[in-house]
Symmetry: C2
Subunit: 315 residues, 2 copies
């Protein structure tokens, strides 16, 4: 299990490379939910999501030999762009396995960062199969999306930035896909402020972590239908789950409609673009699912890479 020292190390590796993203606030939001709310705006991060943090931390710590071998990752979303940009910045060759049904703008963005894209069928199994094949054939080093100590430590720098900026923090809400972000953030925040309550948030159809947390063992669900595509992982990782059980205080869910309402609020009132997954933790705060008041609350707004066509439907 990683410790706050791993996050400190990640922080010094990432400091010259990633943005320290701002904490946004809104008087209207505070009034609506009766708390003092800060939104950690990782939609303003490089590649438009926190995923650059873990990927860069991982690849930067590869040995010289491993760097020369190149890396491989499979992702239809932000992890692809994170690995692509991190590799480019570090001068490492990257190959990304993407489903052939991936939106063309995501494929282009990944290629723009200099990665080679290899297509596969649209299933988790096939993605893993193709990535493993490339690993074996070319000796590429895999960069996993969440179940990895350096990935977790890298994502944890989000929590470190929050902890250093918000001395009075009472609650931290973090979205849960595979659990990399929440695991890293929980370790970081509890190190500085042990009394902060760390709350994981999922959409209700993608509630594998909610179930796992209650059952105290990893529950695997069928591929869930939800607008929050970062929530479509079927279970959290082993390393992630161990940290969640030790450092996370609760896991709650929101509906897709609650997520859409918050995306609309962000667009119309706060003038920011947030992807559905990025609006999940803010939705738990906006709709005040815990029924708290008078608290200092932070929610991680994890990314902003939303399809323009989908954005139009929201408007």
């Amino acid at each position: 299990m990683i410790s706050s020292k791993d996050i400190e190390q990640a922080f010094s590796i990432l400091k010259p490379v990633v943005h320290e993203t701002p904490l946004l606030s809104s008087t209207t939001l505070d009034r609506k939910c009766g708390n003092s709310v800060f939104l950690k705006a990782e939609n303003f991060q490089r590649i438009g999501s926190f995923k650059i943090r873990g990927a860069y931390n991982k690849i930067a710590q590869l040995s010289g030999v491993d760097r020369q071998r190149g890396v491989v990752a499979h992702s239809s979303g932000n992890h692809a762009q994170g690995v692509a940009l991190a590799s480019k910045l570090l001068g490492v060759r990257a190959t990304i396995v993407m489903p052939k049904t991936s939106p063309s703008n995501k494929v282009e963005a990944t290629r723009e960062y200099g990665a080679e894209v290899v297509f596969c069928e649209d299933s988790s199994d096939d993605r893993e199969r193709v990535a493993l094949e490339l690993e074996r054939k070319h000796g590429y080093v895999p960069v996993p999306p969440y179940d990895d100590d350096q990935i977790i430590a890298g994502q944890g720098t989000v929590g470190r930035e929050i902890a250093k900026s918000l001395e009075q923090l009472n609650y931290l809400f973090v979205p849960v896909g595979g659990g990399g972000l929440i695991a890293g953030c929980a370790v970081a925040v509890k190190h500085f402020h042990p009394k902060v309550r760390v709350i994981g948030v999922e959409t209700e159809t993608a509630n594998d972590c909610y179930q796992s947390f209650r059952k105290r063992e990893i529950v695997r669900i069928e591929p869930p239908k939800t607008i929050a595509d970062g929530m479509r992982t079927q279970s959290v990782g082993t390393r992630n789950f161990e940290i969640i059980m030790n450092f996370v205080d609760d896991v709650v869910t929101v509906t897709d409609d609650q997520v859409i309402a918050v995306m609309k609020f962000f667009l119309e009132r706060m003038k920011i673009i947030v992807e559905p997954t990025g609006a999940v933790a803010p939705a738990a705060v906006y709709h005040n699912v815990l029924g708290i008041s008078g608290q200092t609350v932070c929610a991680v707004l994890s990314g902003g890479n939303v399809n323009p066509a989908f954005l139009k439907t929201i408007l």
Copy 2:
């Protein structure tokens, strides 16, 4: 003419009320234009634009008697909401004269802040006539949009925040409508960093200040057609012009198409919503109309209140 002391006073009045908005940056933008660029994000300001600053500074300094009389302003845009919210926060009654053709969301927002809306015909003349009538009939105190010392000093706090955050600043780009924002910012920034070059930006059809600057006298133009509605003022104010001639180094123009390209860049890459007028100064930087390189540059992104229907056409 106002001095930096007036801006310091405005700053202490505004500090508990307005947001100190962040300076955003983008590696892609830096690379595209060859400079180190910071965007002062006043789209994240309360009411979604810098206009709350001047309005609040003005109304807060009214005498007790004047506050009891109430205020009147005419505006189809952000000044209406600035006066409405400032009045509400200060417990002053506000009446806003708006063209009956104003978008319903702007009318509603103004009413939401507690102001009374009085409709007029859609012409500058009629707006002024109706406002003057209310002033005479009810004794309301007028809150002008830009040609006023306290309004200028309030808007100047934008420049003060920039000057305090960017020690190495070389260029500041500011949009010019009536000239309140640029006048205040120029006084503030030159006080702290006399060598910074302050550049006004207009759209090319709304180039009254560009012409005035070159002719060294106020030029009044026909109501211009431009997507940047904050640029539709026909001339800058007298007080504003005096400051512009003393503190501004140049005025440049961009096309409506250049503004649209930057709005698109903001939406797709930077995940922020900016109104056309708010994208005018950034457009001069993005398209590098001055042909500079290696400089530290700031552009004021003045507001984010864009019509959702228009936003859809951009997407």
